[in-house]
């Protein structure tokens, strides 16, 4: 039979009993050698020199109660038994210097004595197989189990531990499920991708690059990763997102890195900047390929050293943030053409995940339609659904070759939103579906992402402002402007626009809601009706 070797720290509290009374007390290292169904052939007792006399007494008492046990002393240096790094290093050194002979000996690591820090370190070293052992935990006596009490062993290699590992797996699955916004996606490649992202996001703070066509869900995924990390307490700060395409010209630097008061003409007050706002949180830079070269240089330093210089300041700011970048451009091409820094690309594409468009994951259309219906229902506080025939028609169309889903999930979301708005009583019927199909085909045939009624938007907004708008925003703003242009007055327009939600409110101040909506785009009723 293999010999049983226990590795144990001298318990400077629990083992420290003197006088005859010590025999009535539970001393873990004595108990360890006293069980009637366990014989420790050798006890490797670890302690610092200060406790030599206690160790001597323990050795003597073990000799008396367990003549089978040989006690071997190991001096370890310990300044602060609560210092994780020091304790780990000390125990790691011990494990390296100790000659294990697993052919002839079985090892038990006793985790009852020592500080909690030491116990954690012993666990980690055992789990990592630096200590090729099972864990043994001794427990004090009680009514049913008099001295020496009971013990239990834990083999981290065995099935018992698998159960715990399974719990981690479940948690991982929950994480992946969360990242998919709870959509039961069926596309295997996409599901695998999400699993990988979950793993990387949970185990790393390195930058992540999300690529993929427009509307493939980069922003939404970045936000979900942030929420998951926050849930698991890996991150405490804010989620700060910005589309780099909107950061053009002089304002870009100051928007990202902030400026101090008086940094330039018009800098009347200091500005924090997005990087500082993202401190301890997450920064999502969408369309990172659109960032100017100066900003790229500053950003690289901020990623590598967590330091940057606000505009006009000579004092560096620090910010720890996790970066997620998004792009639908081929950044390698941009590097070649000199529009993107090679070193920045190298830094951010350690983890690159390519999100597929709808056409590459058609199995996921049905669950995503369902998801969009739920989202709409939640936002508008009334249930939206298809009738059976309408759903079948819409789904068949959406899966067909005709449906090119140019802007991917953004198109799908807008499509459902439109049908929801036009439907009566929250029920989408054949009529709405047929109209929507022709509307979609019409849009896609234009081969331009800009909405058809370009004129409507361009008459009221400058082109560079339109370019910063998401498709979904354009669609909505366009519809709002159409209503406003035909309506007699602000109130009439707002009654049409907030037709459902106004009935749910006690007081109706829809005109104000519309005024505020327009103000977001620097528009007013007067702009639209200049007369």
């Amino acid at each position: 039979m293999k010999k049983k070797i226990a590795i144990s720290l001298l318990g400077t509290t629990l083992d420290k009993r003197y006088g005859q009374k010590r025999w009535e007390r539970w001393r873990p290292n004595i108990a360890l050698c006293q069980y009637d169904d366990l014989i420790i052939d050798r006890l490797e007792l670890l302690f610092s020199k200060d406790f030599q006399s206690l160790a001597d007494l323990i050795k003597q008492d073990i000799k008396q109660t367990s003549p089978e046990t040989e006690v071997v002393f190991h001096h370890i240096e310990q300044q602060d038994p609560w210092d994780f790094e020091e304790v780990y290093a000390t125990l790691h050194d011990f494990s390296k210097s100790y000659t294990f002979n697993p052919e002839k000996e079985d090892y038990l690591v006793h985790i009852t004595t020592g500080t909690h820090v030491a116990q954690i370190c012993l666990f980690l070293l055992t789990e990592a197989r630096y200590l090729p052992a099972q864990l043994i935990q001794t427990s004090p006596p009680n009514k049913e189990n008099p001295l020496p009490g009971t013990y239990s062993t834990i083999d981290l290699d065995l099935s018992q531990y698998d159960l715990i590992a399974q719990r981690f797996a479940t948690e991982q699955q929950e994480g992946a499920h969360f990242l998919k916004s709870g959509i039961a996606t069926k596309n295997p490649a996409f599901n695998k991708l999400i699993d990988q992202i979950e793993h990387v996001a949970m185990h790393s703070t390195a930058p992540v690059l999300l690529t993929g066509p427009t509307g493939s869900g980069k922003t939404q995924l970045a936000r979900k990763v942030y929420e998951l990390k926050k849930q698991r307490s890996q991150i405490s700060g804010e989620f700060v997102e910005v589309n780099c395409a909107t950061l053009q010209g002089d304002g870009a630097m100051s928007a990202l890195f902030g400026h101090c008061k008086g940094a330039f003409t018009g800098a009347l007050s200091a500005r924090t900047g997005l990087l500082l706002r993202a401190n301890q949180g997450m920064l999502f830079l969408d369309e990172i390929g659109e960032l100017g070269l100066d900003e790229q240089a500053m950003l690289l330093r901020a990623i590598e050293e967590h330091r940057f210089l606000p505009v006009g300041s000579d004092k560096e700011k620090t910010s720890q943030f996790q970066l997620i970048a998004g792009t639908n451009r081929d950044l390698i091409e941009s590097v070649k053409s000199g529009h993107f820094r090679e070193d920045l690309l190298a830094r951010i594409d350690l983890w690159t995940f390519q999100l597929p468009g709808i056409k590459e994951r058609k199995q996921d259309l049905a669950p995503n339609i369902q998801y969009e219906l739920e989202q709409y229902s939640r936002q508008h506080q009334h249930q939206l659904s298809f009738n059976k025939q309408a759903y079948a028609t819409y789904l068949t169309f959406s899966l067909s070759e005709q449906a090119i889903w140019k802007a991917n999930f953004r198109d799908l979301s807008a499509s459902i939103t439109r049908m929801g708005t036009l439907s009566i009583g929250g029920r989408i019927k054949m009529a709405e579906v047929n109209d929507e199909i022709s509307r979609l085909l019409q849009r896609w045939s234009n081969h331009s992402i800009t909405p058809s009624s370009k004129s409507c938007l361009t008459t009221h907004l400058p082109q560079d402002q339109i370019d910063t708008l998401d498709y979904i925003e354009r669609v909505q703003l366009e519809a709002v402007l159409e209503v406003c242009m035909t309506a007699k007055n602000l109130s009439s327009a707002s009654r049409q626009l907030f037709n459902i939600s106004r009935t749910l409110k006690k007081t109706n101040n829809d005109a104000d809601r519309l005024r505020k909506y327009l103000a977001k785009y620097s528009l007013s009723w007067q702009n639209i009706h200049p007369s």
């Binding site: 025999w23 009535e24 009637d36 169904d37 014989i39 109660t65 001295l147």
Partner: protein, 340 residues
Amino acid sequence: MTDYINIDGSLGEGGGQILRSSIALSMITGKALHVFNIRAKRSKPGLLRQHLTAVKAAIAISQAEATGVQLGATEFWFEPKSIQGGDYFFAIGSAGSASLVMQTILYPLMFASVASAVRVEGGTYNDFAPTYDFLQEVLLPYLQRMGAKITLVLDRYGFYPQGGGHMTLTVEPSVLKPIKFTEFNGWHDVIAESIACRMPKETVGQQVKALQRIPEVTEGKETRLPSKCGTGNVLYLRLKGGDYSELLVGFGGARVATATVIKAVKRQANKLLGAKVGVGEYLADQLLLPMALAGSGSFETMQPTQHSLTNAAVIGQLLGIGIQFKSSENGLCKVIIDSG
């Protein structure tokens, strides 16, 4: 191929007694032994530490070849060679009972060609095992009367859990002869004694006083051991009458309620005194083996326990001897050992 005698360790109460009896007889008869289902019905099945020490001691003394002897084993094979007398030392872990080891090797050593001195270190007062005093005052005198040349010396007491007790057993080659029991005429000395170490004075006094309320008790005694023996306590009722002697035991200690100890002794006393018999059930069990080795004999005792019946069956099987339990009208039982 060796012919093994198979002993089912789960028979009867499935305790360590079967193990000790069968090993002792295997050594004496030279018959190879296969014990299986060891302690099968117990919560911790298989060989525990104290059993292992006993088996190892037997291996040492009989130069046996053994397979499967390890902690937790539920079966093993034991093939004794010749019994070697001489000096031995055995240390028992976890303050296990020194007397259990003694029980295993005592009889085989009588069959050695030279005298032996065996020092055993461990506990001298353990639950579920004969105490040093029982061996010294009750069992040994019976064996000596049967012709055994043995002595037992206590060097040091050892209470659980620290143990540290020492006993030395000397055995000279001897032949056991049948013993003749005279008729039992009642007990004339019945002494209550509490032996204690590091126990409250009141507890000890309380124990003795409680036993003195039994009408038959003639004397009370308090014995305090020096502090270095550890914390422990046994409560005895010693009985002597004619050729007969008995010792009833209750185990106390720091974690045992005084009332529990008193109750345990009183229960045994009521039974023994009520039966008006000279051999109690525990002693009866201990006498089976030496009397079977002597070849014949008989004595009167109480109704046999399951433990005794199992023990008798194992002894009968290994020695090819008949052990009968004959119930009589007064609720007693006559044990008759007969080689014929």
